[in-house]
C-alpha cells in the first residue's frame, strides 16, 4: 500500500498517479511493492541479485515505469536492473529515484542499469532524481547506466536532477553500433554544499553511428560539479558534446570534455562553457517588469528546460 508521501515522491520523479499507464514496477525502501507486466512487456525479479529484468518483445510499443523511492533514514539500497528492448520496438521508459530522508542518517540508492536497445528499436529513457527531508541526513544517488544501441536503433536519454540530492556520482557508458543514434540530455542544478560528478563515455563503434550529448547545469551556493564526457569514435561516426554551465555564488564547476577518434572519417566536436548569467539578459527581462530574482529564475528554468 502506497502512502501519501510515496505518491508525492512518485509524482515528482515519474509523474505517476494512482493508476500508472503501461507496465510498471515500484521499488520502495529496498523492496518491490507493486508490479504490472503486460503482454510483450515482462517484468521479473532477478534471482541472483536485487533488481529486475524488463523484457520488451520485438515490435512492441508502450511505456514502462520503474521508479524507486526511499522513505527511511540509514538505508542503503543497491539494485541491478537489466532492460532489453526487442528489435523494432518503440518504448518510453521512466526510471528515477525519489528520496525522503526523515532522519539524520544517510539514505542512499545505487541503481545500476544495463540497457540493450536491439536492432531498429527506439527507446526514450527518462531518469529524474529528487530529494527532500527535514532530518538533515544526506540524500545520496549514484546511478550507473550501461547502454548498448544496436544497428539502426535509437536511444534518447533524459537525465534530470534539480536540487535536493546531496551527493551524486553518475556514470553513463554507451556503445553505439552502425547506424545507431544516441541523444543524451543531462540537466543538473546543485546548491548549498551539494556535490555532483558525471562521467560519460560514449563509444561510436560503426559506420553512421551518431551521438549528441548535451549537459546543462547550474551551480549555486557552495556546490561543486564535475563533468567528464568522453566521446570515442572507433569507426566513421559523428558526435557532438556540449557542456554548458551557469556558475553562481561561491560554487565550483569543472568541465573536461574529451573527444578521441581512431578513424579518419570520424567527425567529433566538443564545446564547453562556464559563465554567470549575463547582465544584459537580466536587464532585458527586468525591462519586461520582472524583478531581478524573477528574471534570474526565468533564465535558469529556461536554461534547464
Amino acid at each position: 500500500m502506497l502512502t501519501a508521501l510515496d505518491k508525492k515522491l512518485l509524482e515528482e520523479i515519474a509523474e505517476l498517479h494512482d493508476d500508472p499507464p503501461g507496465a510498471f514496477n515500484i521499488r520502495k525502501d529496498g523492496k518491490g511493492v507493486q508490479r504490472r507486466s503486460l503482454e510483450g512487456i515482462e517484468i521479473r525479479s532477478k534471482e541472483d541479485q536485487p533488481g529486475i529484468d524488463v523484457l520488451v518483445a520485438p515490435g512492441k510499443e508502450g511505456s514502462v515505469h520503474i521508479p524507486v523511492i526511499l522513505t527511511e533514514t540509514d538505508l542503503s539500497d543497491l539494485v541491478y536492473n537489466t532492460i532489453e528492448i526487442g528489435e523494432n520496438a518503440d518504448i518510453t521508459l521512466v526510471a528515477g529515484c525519489g528520496i525522503h530522508n526523515p532522519g539524520s542518517g544517510s539514505a542512499r540508492h545505487d541503481g545500476i542499469h544495463r540497457i540493450i536497445v536491439r536492432r531498429g528499436a527506439r527507446l526514450k529513457y527518462s531518469e529524474k532524481h529528487y530529494g527532500e527531508g527535514e532530518g538533515g541526513g544526506k540524500r545520496i544517488l549514484n546511478p550507473k547506466t550501461e547502454l548498448v544501441i544496436e544497428e539502426d536503433a535509437y536511444a534518447e536519454l533524459e537525465l534530470i536532477q534539480i536540487r535536493g540530492v546531496d551527493n551524486t556520482n553518475r556514470v553513463t557508458e554507451a556503445e553505439v553500433h552502425a547506424g545507431g543514434r544516441l541523444f543524451m540530455f543531462e540537466r543538473l542544478l546543485t546548491d548549498g554544499e551539494q556535490t555532483a560528478n558525471s562521467d560519460v563515455v560514449v563509444n561510436l563503434m560503426g559506420e553512421g553511428s551518431t551521438a549528441r550529448i548535451i549537459s546543462r547545469s547550474v551551480a549555486q551556493g557552495n556546490s561543486k560539479q564535475t563533468f567528464n564526457p568522453r566521446l570515442l569514435a572507433y569507426g566513421p561516426g559523428r558526435g557532438h558534446v556540449e557542456c554548458d554551465s551557469i556558475i553562481m555564488d561561491q560554487s565550483t564547476v569543472r568541465s573536461v570534455p574529451e573527444i578521441w577518434a581512431e578513424n579518419a572519417d570520424a567527425e567529433l566536436v566538443h564545446e564547453a562553457a562556464i559563465g554567470k548569467i549575463a547582465g544584459d539578459q537580466l536587464i532585458k527581462l527586468m525591462a519586461l517588469g520582472l524583478t531581478e530574482e524573477e528574471a534570474e529564475e526565468a533564465i535558469i528554468s529556461g536554461f534547464l528546460k
Partner: protein, 248 residues
C-alpha cells in the same frame, strides 16, 4: 508623458569617468512619435537607457506623467509603462519565443502571439524556437520588436529597429510600429532611416551627448544630410593626408 529634465550622465569605464550626456531637456508627449537620430556614439541609446532606468543619471531628473521616477529601477519603470526594444537583444539558451512573449504580456494588458505575424514571422514556425544562436540576427531583432509590441507599454522606445532587418521586412516594420501607435502612447524610435524620420512628428538630433537640433522632417533632414556629407568629406580628407602614398 515622459520628461527628461536637465539630464547629465557619466559612466565609469576602466576606472575613468567618461561624460556621455549633458543638458538633455526632452519632453515626450502622449500620442506623438519621435525619432532620435545622430552619429554613432552621440548618446542616443544612452538617453533610452536613462529613460528605462538601466543607467542612473549623474544629474537631472526623469518624470513619467509628472511623477519623479529618477530613483526607480528598471522593473518599477517597466510596470509603470515604459518599454524598450534593445538595439542588440541578448540571446537566451533554452528560453523559447513563446516564453519571452508570455513574460512580456504578464505585466500588461498585452496583445497576443499575432505580434509575430505582424512583424513577418509565422507563429507556428517560431513560438517553439529557442532564443539562442540558432536564430539569425534579423530574426532575433524582429522577435525583440514583437516582444515590445506584446508588452504594449505606454512609452515605447525602439532602439534602431531597422538594424539587421531586410528591406522587405523593414517596410512591414514601419507599418506595424505606425499602426500600433495610439493616442495614449508615446513612441520614440532611435534611427537613421529616412523612412522612419519621415513618419514621426518630431526629429531630435543628438550630437556629442546633447540635443543639437529638433523639428519636423523638412527642417531637420537637410541639416542631417549636409552634416553627414561634411563629416564624410572631413574624414576622407584626413585619410588622404594620412595615406598620401596609397598604392592604389
Amino acid at each position: 508623458m515622459l520628461k527628461l529634465d536637465n539630464i547629465y550622465l557619466e559612466l565609469v569605464v576602466e576606472g575613468r569617468s567618461i561624460p556621455i550626456l549633458h543638458d538633455i531637456e526632452l519632453d515626450f508627449q502622449a500620442g506623438k512619435m519621435y525619432a532620435l537620430t545622430g552619429p554613432n556614439g552621440s548618446g542616443k541609446s544612452s538617453i533610452a537607457r536613462v529613460a528605462m532606468g538601466i543607467y542612473q543619471p549623474t544629474g537631472g531628473k526623469v518624470f513619467l506623467n509628472g511623477e519623479d521616477i529618477t530613483a526607480m529601477g528598471i522593473t518599477e519603470r517597466a510596470r509603470m509603462g515604459i518599454g524598450y526594444a534593445f538595439q542588440q537583444p541578448p540571446r537566451f539558451k533554452g528560453m523559447r519565443v513563446v516564453d519571452m512573449l508570455e513574460l512580456a504580456m504578464k505585466h500588461s494588458d498585452g496583445l497576443n502571439c499575432q505580434v509575430l505575424r505582424q512583424i513577418g514571422l509565422c507563429p507556428d514556425d517560431y513560438l517553439d524556437r529557442t532564443l539562442d544562436n540558432s536564430l539569425s540576427g534579423g530574426e532575433i531583432k524582429r522577435i525583440e520588436i514583437a516582444t515590445l509590441l506584446a508588452q504594449n507599454p505606454k512609452v515605447r522606445i525602439f532602439d534602431e529597429p531597422e538594424a539587421g532587418i531586410d528591406l522587405w521586412s523593414f517596410e512591414q516594420l514601419i507599418d506595424v510600429i505606425g499602426d500600433s501607435h495610439r493616442e495614449d502612447t508615446t513612441t520614440v524610435i532611435i534611427s537613421h532611416q529616412e523612412k522612419i524620420l519621415n513618419m514621426v512628428d518630431e526629429i531630435i538630433l543628438i550630437e556629442e551627448g546633447t540635443v543639437s537640433m529638433r523639428g519636423n522632417r523638412d527642417k531637420i533632414w537637410p541639416q542631417i544630410k549636409e552634416s553627414a556629407q561634411c563629416s564624410c568629406r572631413r574624414s576622407c580628407r584626413l585619410e588622404e593626408e594620412l595615406y598620401a602614398d596609397c598604392p592604389r
